[in-house]
């Protein structure tokens, strides 16, 4: 058994888990953060994407022990103070989700994508960078639209602050 301590969504947490426990299992089973989903066994669908130390990673392809000491952000920690994150808002306004199962991973991936590219994101880049996130409902059309809208809003806000 490993003693795992990490910061999750700004809160220090700790727990005991077998060494083979995946980060996604630790989040879901130990911490009850069921927003992070498992959609495949081969590290391809991206339903489990969370941020570890600011990077988007697949929490099904990382042991909880590997994330020991890290700063983890999940979909549950994205909104702050009751305010939706601009990416969450854009998914809502642009109907970027249907069944909602891939949505947490999509939103976490999109947030990191926008952080890296800013307002300069274009449709081609968004589609290429969604390679690691599979959605079966939306045909991606409105997901792409939502990410571009959020990039505009976040990039615009960034520019205004600078």
């Amino acid at each position: 058994m490993a003693s795992i301590s990490m910061t999750v969504n700004g809160r220090a947490v700790s727990g005991e888990a077998e060494d083979r426990t995946l980060l996604v299992e630790f989040l879901r089973n130990n911490l009850g953060l069921t927003g992070t989903h498992v959609g495949c066994d081969t590290s391809q669908c991206g339903a489990c994407v969370v941020h570890v130390d600011g990077d988007a990673v697949k929490s099904c392809t990382m042991l909880a022990a590997q994330a020991n000491g890290s700063d983890v952000k999940t979909i549950e920690g994205l909104a702050s103070g009751g305010e939706l994150h601009p990416v969450q808002k854009a998914f809502h306004e642009n109907h970027g989700l249907q069944c909602g199962f891939c949505t947490p991973g999509m939103i976490m991936a999109a947030t990191e994508m926008i952080n890296r590219h800013g307002a300069s994101l274009d449709e081609k880049t968004v589609r290429e960078e969604l390679e690691g996130n599979i959605c079966r409902c939306t045909g991606y059309h409105n997901i792409v639209k939502a990410i571009l809208a959020a990039a505009q809003e976040m990039g615009g806000a960034q520019q205004a602050a600078e």
């Binding site: 490993a2 081969t42 990077d55 988007a56 990673v57 392809t61 960078e129 390679e131 690691g132």
Partner: protein
């Protein structure tokens, strides 16, 4: 996943000691292949030794024309490195197309070449760049390092610390991805330098990464796409599966090689 014991190393020496003390241990770099393999119960290491927190394994440096990349450097870091982009843009491009963004944030160059997946991208570049693989005990030339599908010259417990190569005059990588997995079905890295032209091919060969020597000769004589018109790729040397017959892969190798030469300029 079978039971395993996790160890975190903070130095190469500690990692070497941990792995030598393990029954049937595995080095864990970015884990983007090892963890899925363990999840599918196709690997059952008694111990895993995490290399991700070893500072000495990370980083990129350029001295003169020699580029050195720490084994623990992630694909994302290679893709975004201004030094790599300037010395060998083809390698930055290659890194920026490995897997997906989440995989690139974790996966490392050392992990990729140590695994030597026949469809991985880095081995083609290492071979074409005539890179040197540095380990905690020796240096190995790329031609000697990759010894067959999932096989390398590494001894048990030997740890890759870095790779280095001389920046080529011209180079480019063209990948044809498997439509499902997005791994290379044919990836061709072409590099031209003072020593001639080297062509590394991944994804297609039935024994893993290989050098296309007939293409190398043709391109040494004339570095142009047209020089490859007469170059043949023998389908009997190619992999064949659901996604690509050996004939199709042979065609892809030639097409990707020509496009790589054209992209290299």
């Amino acid at each position: 996943m079978y039971k395993t014991t996790y160890h975190r190393a903070s130095s190469v020496e500690e990692a070497a000691s941990l792995i030598s003390g393990a029954d049937d241990g595995k080095l864990l770099a970015g884990g983007q292949t090892l963890i899925p393999t363990m999840k599918q119960r196709l690997a059952a290491p008694s111990d895993v030794v995490d290399l991700r927190h070893i500072a000495d394994l990370k980083g990129i440096s350029v001295a003169g024309s020699t580029v050195t990349i720490g084994a623990g450097t992630t694909h994302a870091d290679v893709a975004n490195s201004a030094e790599v982009r300037s010395a060998c843009p083809a390698l930055a491009d290659l890194a920026s197309n490995i897997g997906d963004p989440h995989v690139r944030n974790m996966g490392t160059i050392g992990g990729s070449i140590a695994n030597n997946d026949p469809a991985a991208d880095y081995p083609a570049a290492m071979v074409a760049l005539n890179a040197t693989i540095h380990t905690n005990s020796r240096q190995i030339g790329a031609d000697d390092f990759f010894t067959g599908m999932f096989e390398t010259a590494l001894n048990d417990g030997e740890i890759i610390t870095a790779v280095s190569f001389d920046a080529p005059e011209k180079a480019a990588y063209q990948k044809f991805p498997n439509p499902a997995s997005r791994y290379a079905m044919a990836g061709v890295f072409v590099a031209k330098s003072g020593g001639g032209v080297r062509v590394g091919v991944t994804g297609a060969g039935s024994d893993g990464v290989f050098r296309a020597s007939n293409m190398e000769s043709a391109l040494s004589a004339s570095f142009s796409g047209g020089a490859l018109d007469g170059a043949s790729v023998d389908p009997s040397d190619m992999l064949s599966d659901l996604h690509g017959s050996s004939e199709y892969r042979a065609n892809l190798v030639k097409v990707m090689a020509k496009r790589a030469v054209e992209a290299a300029g």
